[in-house]
Symmetry: C2
Amino acid sequence: MTTEQVATPRPLRKDAARNRELLIEAAREVFARRGLEASLDDVAHHAGLGVGTAYRHFANKYELASALMERTIETIVSSAQQALLVDDPWEGLVAFLEASLAVQTADRGLREVLMGVHDPQKMAQVHDRLFGPISELLHRAQQSGAVREDADTTDLGFINGMMCTVADMAGDSSPDLWRRYLTMCLDGLRPGGTAFPTAALSEPEFRDAMANHKHILTRTTKDTSAGWDGPPAT
Amino acid sequence: MTTEQVATPRPLRKDAARNRELLIEAAREVFARRGLEASLDDVAHHAGLGVGTAYRHFANKYELASALMERTIETIVSSAQQALLVDDPWEGLVAFLEASLAVQTADRGLREVLMGVHDPQKMAQVHDRLFGPISELLHRAQQSGAVREDADTTDLGFINGMMCTVADMAGDSSPDLWRRYLTMCLDGLRPGGTAFPTAALSEPEFRDAMANHKHILTRTTKDTSAGWDGPPAT
DNA sequence: AGAAAGTGGAGTAGGCACCTCCGTATTAGG
DNA sequence: CCTAATACGGAGGTGCCTACTCCACTTTCT
């Protein structure tokens, strides 16, 4: 066992390694700002590299994005577990939502993955890992009397979705506006509120809804096109 | 003043008139269900007619959609005015939101127009007509002590957006779910809630945000494509 | 220095939405 | 009933856009 390394078959040339890093960093920025609708071409240019280079390193944008997101998703899952360790159940719940949303609102690509815009299966996997902890977080808060009894875990899913919308609407100029509306929603979760006129979705219904909505998000492009009375415009 | 009609230059042939109605009806359904992303081709087929027919009657889908939406938007504006006549300010505010959202959640095309997905100008016009009445509705409620003092008219805009998201997420299978979350948000608007950590957007900021978000919504298509590890799939 | 590895970006492929065109069908009315 | 005027249908043209490939050229490694 000397200094030999058996792991890597071919050590990757110096410039190649550097470019790979550049691509990953560029991808992080581009996907965060513009969502997964950005192309590998975009990422390449943002990194100051040619398209060909991007395609040699990553088969397609999903491979690149998938790797990128994995780590961030891990962060969210673990912050749910962290939150369970907070003594005050209400504070734990709030801390989790804030942490999770801080990450999501700063990264449009991540939002798209979590909302299942591109691949329902990927989203489902993530939800599998989050449902348990979040559910517990909620029940703990309910048992302590901090949250109304008729709140459901799926409500937290919808609150999450609503905050993502606020982030999309507000854009980069007011990156923290969601906190205002989260505060509002959380006040609405406290005991003693108005009776709900509609039942929450069950978990399977929620999964179904998430798997089928698609629609939301997509398209930023250079949309020069006019609008209502535009397209033909002879 | 006999039975003579001076108005129409050419009375439109019987079948043509019938088809025109069929198209309008079909457009209403198709745009409501699939949004303005549906093509005139889609509308034509839904009406059981050929594409050519659709294009003879309407220059493009925007002309058709614009006419269609105009009436509905009128409904919303007038329900804001109606709401000002309700004695209890809180009830008036709630009544307006519910009426307005009932219409919006049932019509995806309308939602897109109101959220400015296609044409910021059209949206701006609508907002011009709504801002006054809504603002008054809110201030009245605040003066009566029913709504917290630090709520802002733009908050109602965001609440509206959030409910549209819920409608998109829930889909046709739970068309009324938004009522649950509206209840929650409204409880959060009552006096005595947690202090907001972020200021509301000013009206100009709100308009800016709405004009620039684009992104949201679009694309339903027959997306056969796989997802994360899919596209190439050789 | 020579071979191996990596690069850039014009160009190809393919999909999709919008719209046109014209042979055929329907209607109006003389 | 017959003809002219009007309307219909839908195959296919056009243009746009995105994903991805290919190869002459550059950089690195030994």
